[in-house]
Symmetry: C2
Subunit: 249 residues, 2 copies
DNA sequence: CGTTATTTTGATTTCTTTCAATCGGTGTGG
DNA sequence: CCACACCGATTGAAAGAAATCAAAATAACG
């Protein structure tokens, strides 16, 4: 394996755990370590279960491309969508440190993934403090998103919930270069959004059409078009002061 | 400062970031480092704002004793309680890595806290991988709790929400030795619980009395008494397979 | 003991769900 | 090419859960 190949593995362009500056030299032991930690890359087809709730997992991932969904299934048969997986996200932190995931993760579209050995995660902390810190950053961002989602699901009305979720998704998508103009892909079903917001499918549908009639945003054929971003944010009670944490990518 | 004093600071009994084995020797540079990282300990009186949503923070904490509350205030004036702070919790991860907290933290009772320098957090990653890893573990547990809370707020009915929250609090309290028999302190207002679960105060009150009438649990005078833990869990749709992550304490 | 905060209760209104049914697109097999 | 089944989106009507409004009862406090 050539040095170039090593460098690719250690530092693949879109991995949130990559080395920040592409120009930093790699020490040879660092390359050796990362080659052991990073197993390789893989493609996941739509519908693939990356993690099953409650199951042990030996592999961790970072998403390089494609979209996925995190969710929990309850004993009453209902489903809570915890969030959407986007490029740059780390998947499997819970499995990494707690042994098993407390929610499932599924690929919605085809996804390109970086694969890591769970068993070597602690070694990362011993040998790669910069990457360990980056991982903690991702965890903190995730915590922030979850807090926002909780506040939305708990305290907002249906129209506000929908507006908030579309606004948030668009902002995130744009931040990682997924948007073209005022459009971005949104390859989920209305049922997924309903389950994310604690609304019924029917009410979600009706509320989406209100948003469309109001000229704020339309969502059809897996694409989201934002016609009035500012008003959409207002409707969704998005905190104006909110400095969206920049994705690590 | 004597060696004993140093040892106390590096390894105070209840801090989740303490060294696991009390018998491990400390290297002198480790003591030096921890003395710089850990500023000291402090008492917070009831009502003290430990963190303000959106504000920069120079200090991070671990809770040693007492109870607190995490919450977000929305633009529509409503409040979402994100969770309750219990001994062993780390407070301020977001401030540590993202610069500012996205929710507020307030002491409900008097709280004893370990105080750390935010500016030295990254040094912790470079010099104390064991503690850095412990911190990530705490973050993963927090993420797990938030996911559970989201699923509860999003997908359960009022009775289930209340039962779930009381069950969960009791289990956590018992795990850290806060319970005496089937009782534990619960020094919050009904309004706090309502804001945590996305219910109105009135409805929360009525639902609590249902739970009381059903003989599952009573909550009065700041104390929670669990009369039928198992049935309470069932009512709250608590996942039976759920291996509660052990607190680090 | 008066004042304030919290809990409790009842009546009414609003929002959301559930139920039921239609419509459009997609894929399959005859 | 068409009948058929299937899935997601859409719409209307009825039922239900929880919020809001209003007020009384308790408890906490200086």
């Amino acid at each position: 394996m050539t040095y170039q190949a090593n460098k690719m593995i250690v530092n693949c362009d879109q991995c949130p755990l990559r080395k920040k500056s592409a120009f930093l030299p790699f020490k040879s032991d660092e390359i050796t370590f990362m080659n052991r930690f990073k197993t390789g890359e893989m493609m996941a087809e739509p519908g693939t279960q990356l993690f099953m709730e409650g199951a042990k997992a030996a592999q961790l991932y970072t998403a390089l491309s494609g979209l996925g969904i995190r969710y929990k299934t309850l004993e009453n048969g209902r489903r809570q969508v915890i969030g959407f997986v986007m490029p740059g996200d780390f998947i499997g932190l819970q499995a990494g440190v707690m042994g098993e995931m407390r929610h499932s993760v599924e690929a919605t579209t085809q996804m390109q993934l970086c694969v890591f050995n769970r068993s070597r995660l602690y070694d990362l902390y011993k040998n790669q403090p910069e990457r360990a810190y980056a991982l903690t950053y991702l965890a903190a961002v995730e915590e922030h998103f979850l807090g926002d989602a909780l506040a939305t699901v708990g305290q907002k009305g249906a129209l506000e919930k929908i507006a908030w979720s579309l606004h948030r998704f668009f902002i995130r998508a744009r931040a990682i270069g997924l948007a073209e103009g005022n459009q971005c892909p949104l390859p989920f079903r209305q049922q997924d959004l309903a389950d994310a917001l604690g609304l019924s499918l029917v009410h979600t549908n009706k509320t989406l059409s209100k948003l469309r009639d109001a000229g704020l945003a339309t969502w059809a054929d897996g694409r989201l078009e934002v016609l009035d971003l500012e008003k959409l944010g207002e409707t969704g009670l998005v905190e104006t002061s909110e400095a969206e944490p920049r994705p690590l990518i």
